[in-house]
């Protein structure tokens, strides 16, 4: 400083005024300052986001709750100007959305299958429940057989053809069959891809890369249009089965890649140890490698299942009525056609899909945290 005052001596003669208390860093004010208005840029961001939310949220709440129509038995209820969601439509069609055209007096069979599924899923999802091996066996072998008997109607039960199935039932059937079939196939393909036998490896790589390189919709077209041509004359599959074949082949390629990731994560020493114990390839795989590899990829398997679950909606393009398909079909019902119906139906279907997928993704994240012990650097 060049311009120093002539006298720098200063003696305070009176008390200085008390300063304001420091800006709070705790409490509501402090939280707001730290999290919303920390800097000029933050303040601008906060204001822009808040304005955006104010612009979209009130109309959504108004549409979904305040001006929504909750009761009514035809389109008349939802036609008025300014009406929001037509929940009466969902209420009236709820049975169809869940069961499709499954005969009403036989719907207990669907419910029973659902209960059997839950009875197997809940204990396998809770890590501390014992008997995981038996449980997995139940889910992968016993349950599919029981559900097949119940749903199609064998052993004296009234047969229900698959053309009558629909709604959430078809969505779950396609997703579960896809995962149950793709699991063993995926294991075989993953092993094949890591095999030392060149031809086995080549076939596995071609199979996996082919299905992963094409969109599911072309796979479904293939299985519904092209597959019947390759079968001997007189052999026919029903539409649902053809879709299931396509979905199963498609998802087993994805499953194979997930499992391969798990196999690659197993240290070489484990393979060598299995060999040193004189275990054969299959014994070593079954008793040493797979239990470790599969445990590692549980999150990956759940994520594949979420993807598959969402992809089941594609079957509507080849004329099956899954949840989305049946919602879309009912939108065109003369009795319910109104400007509010499509949005209502889609929002309902989106909500159902969201519940399933979000729940599964939370579970996958939970497993990831649980399994992620001792690997953190």
């Amino acid at each position: 400083m060049e311009t120093l005052p002539t006298s720098i001596r200063y003696v305070r003669s009176e008390e200085s005024p008390t300063m304001a208390p420091p800006v709070s860093t705790g409490g509501v004010g402090g939280w707001l300052k730290e999290n919303l208005f920390a800097s000029t840029r933050d303040t601008i961001l906060t204001i822009v986001t808040a304005l955006f939310l104010l612009w979209i949220i009130p109309p959504i709440i108004d549409w979904a709750f305040i001006s929504a129509v909750w009761t009514g038995d035809s389109r008349e209820a939802c036609l008025g100007p300014g009406t929001g969601a037509c929940w009466a439509f969902v209420e009236a069609k709820f049975g169809q959305f869940i069961y499709g055209r499954y005969p009403i007096e036989e719907r207990w069979r669907v419910n029973l299958s659902g209960l059997l599924l839950i009875a197997g899923l809940v204990p396998i999802a809770i890590p501390s429940v014992p008997y995981k091996r038996e449980n997995a066996l139940y889910l992968l072998v016993v349950f599919p057989i029981l559900a097949f008997i119940l749903l199609t109607g064998q052993f004296g039960l009234e047969p229900v053809e698959t053309a009558l199935w629909g709604g959430l039932l078809v969505t779950l059937v396609v997703a579960i069959v896809g995962i149950v079939v793709s699991f063993p196939l995926g294991i075989l393909l993953a092993l094949g891809r890591r095999s030392e036998m060149p031809i086995v490896k080549m076939f596995s790589v071609i199979f996996i890369e082919f299905w992963r390189g094409v969109p599911l919709i072309t796979v479904l077209f293939m299985s519904s249009v092209m597959l019947p041509l390759f079968l001997p004359d007189g052999v026919t599959f029903d539409k649902l089965l053809r879709a299931l074949i396509g979905v199963a082949l498609f998802s087993s390629a994805y499953m194979a890649e997930v499992i391969r990731g798990g196999l690659q994560a197993i240290p070489k020493g484990q393979y060598e140890a299995a060999n040193a114990m004189a275990l054969t390839f299959w014994q070593g795989t079954r008793l040493v490698i797979m239990p470790q590899a599969l445990k590692l990829v549980i999150p990956g398997i759940v994520n594949t299942f979420i993807g598959l679950f969402k992809d089941t909606s594609l079957v509507l393009i080849i004329g099956l009525f899954d949840l989305l398909g049946i919602v879309q079909q009912n939108m065109n019902d003369q009795n319910w056609i109104s400007p509010a119906t499509p949005a209502t139906g889609f929002v309902f279907a989106a909500f159902v899909f969201f519940i399933f997928c979000f729940g599964m993704s939370r579970y996958s994240a939970y497993m990831e945290r649980r399994l992620d012990t001792g690997h953190k650097r």
């Binding site: 082919f210 969109p215 089941t312």
Partner: protein, 402 residues
């Protein structure tokens, strides 16, 4: 866990292994059996197909490509009428798929990066909003989202008349149930010079960048490359535009009778597909970006700060290059997913490859085997090309290890 007892019977017969238990011999036999099984499957499939096709009287081969298509396509980037051949229809579809995929990839990447960064923001509101966006969109099937945009949002927009358009009056910008109308740029004689000027500016930007980097390496002096480049890219075409006597005009849309005429229109199908694809894929890209940035160790940015780099230089020079190595491989698979998912266009009537070729052409010719195989091959090729390109890009940013 089962206890393992019993070793194979030949184990004590040391040194000499029977052919049964020789891994090499068993491998050969097994592979031979596999080949035979595959050949048998393919052979029986093909012979069944030949029988079935002959019985149904369906021609085979690719001869149909030269025939007249006889149907119209709503959106085409190359000249096409219903007199064109199936081959041309195929290319129209392929081009439409590629256009929507490329624009979709661009939009999804931009939105995804913004949302991914927003999820890491310290701003509570921004961060929560980004989280809700990601969790909602990625847990709802894409097909449902596409149908929602198309049927529940864009289709119930008011008609041109209801929007308040007067017949014959030109509008600059209008959204109605026919699409989004914008002015179209009509080039006149000499307009190509503007394009040349633009290309020259971009090339110049590139070389200035190289020169500036070289000079900085040698002398330590910096040069404002970005601002210079931006100025060049804007000024040079603008100057050419003025010098050549403004050889461009704008054509506006207007309502003529019941139809909209003129202007540049983005059709509702295209808009719905693009909106659905990019918003859905962006939610996945956001998670990839977030994970990539979190994967860069905190010590890296601390080291950069210790060297005196400012925050934006830290992220540009230290954090982002390292995060990119984590981000690019999963990003590639998202690009591939988007390209494959563009085939859902068939559900909302956007004329993409599957919709034109796997839909209309298949129905008209009945040649399911050829049509579906070609469609699958195209997607396979696109997938392989994209992943080859991304692998090349990945190796160019990969960590050079000793």
């Amino acid at each position: 866990m089962a206890h393992q007892t019993g070793v194979s019977a030949d184990a004590d017969d040391a040194g000499r292994v029977s052919l049964m238990n020789d891994p090499k011999a068993r491998g050969l036999v097994f592979q031979a059996l596999l080949i035979i099984a595959v050949i048998f499957l393919v052979y029986s499939g093909v012979s069944n197909a030949i029988d079935n096709l002959a019985r149904a009287g369906i021609a085979s081969g690719l001869g149909f490509f030269g025939e007249r298509a006889g149907f119209d396509i709503g959106q085409s980037f190359i000249p096409y009428t219903n007199d064109s051949t199936y081959l041309r229809a195929f290319f129209v579809g392929l081009l439409n798929t590629m256009v929507v995929a490329i624009i979709g990839i661009f939009l999804a990447t931009v939105i995804g990066f913004i949302v991914g960064l927003a999820r890491l923001s310290k701003n509570y509101l921004v961060q929560k909003f980004a989280t809700v966006y990601v969790e909602t969109l990625r847990n709802i099937p894409l097909l449902l989202q596409l149908l929602f945009w198309y049927k529940a949002v864009l289709s119930i927009l008011p008609s041109p008349r209801a929007v308040g358009l007067e017949p014959g009056v030109e509008v600059v910008f209008n959204l109605n149930n026919r699409g989004l109308y914008m002015p179209r740029i009509v080039p006149e004689g000499g307009a190509q010079f503007i394009l040349f000027a633009f290309i020259i500016a971009v090339v110049a930007w590139f070389f200035i960048g190289r020169w500036a980097k070289k000079r900085q390496m040698a002398t330590g002096q910096q040069f404002p490359v970005f601002l210079t480049g931006l100025a060049l890219v804007i000024a040079l075409p603008l100057l050419t535009f003025l010098v050549t006597g403004m050889p461009m005009s704008l054509e506006y849309a207007s309502l003529q009778g019941f139809n909209m005429v003129g202007g540049w229109v983005i059709q509702p199908e295209f808009m719905a597909l693009l909106l659905g694809l990019s918003l859905y894929t962006a939610s996945f890209i956001a998670e990839i970006v977030r994970a990539g940035i979190l994967a860069v160790s905190h010590g890296q940015s601390e080291a950069a700060f210790a060297l005196g780099l400012r925050p934006n230089l830290t992220s540009r020079l230290v954090v982002v290059p390292q995060a990119m190595r984590v981000i690019i491989p999963p990003l590639t698979s998202q690009f591939l997913n988007l390209t494959k998912n563009s085939s859902l266009a068939v559900a909302i009537g956007y004329p993409d490859l599957v919709s034109i070729f796997g839909g209309t052409v298949l129905n008209q010719t009945g040649q399911a085997v050829e049509v579906i195989s070609i469609t699958m091959l195209v997607y396979l090729t696109l997938s392989l090309l994209t992943s080859a390109f991304m692998n090349w890009f990945n190796s160019s940013v990969a960590l050079v290890e000793r």
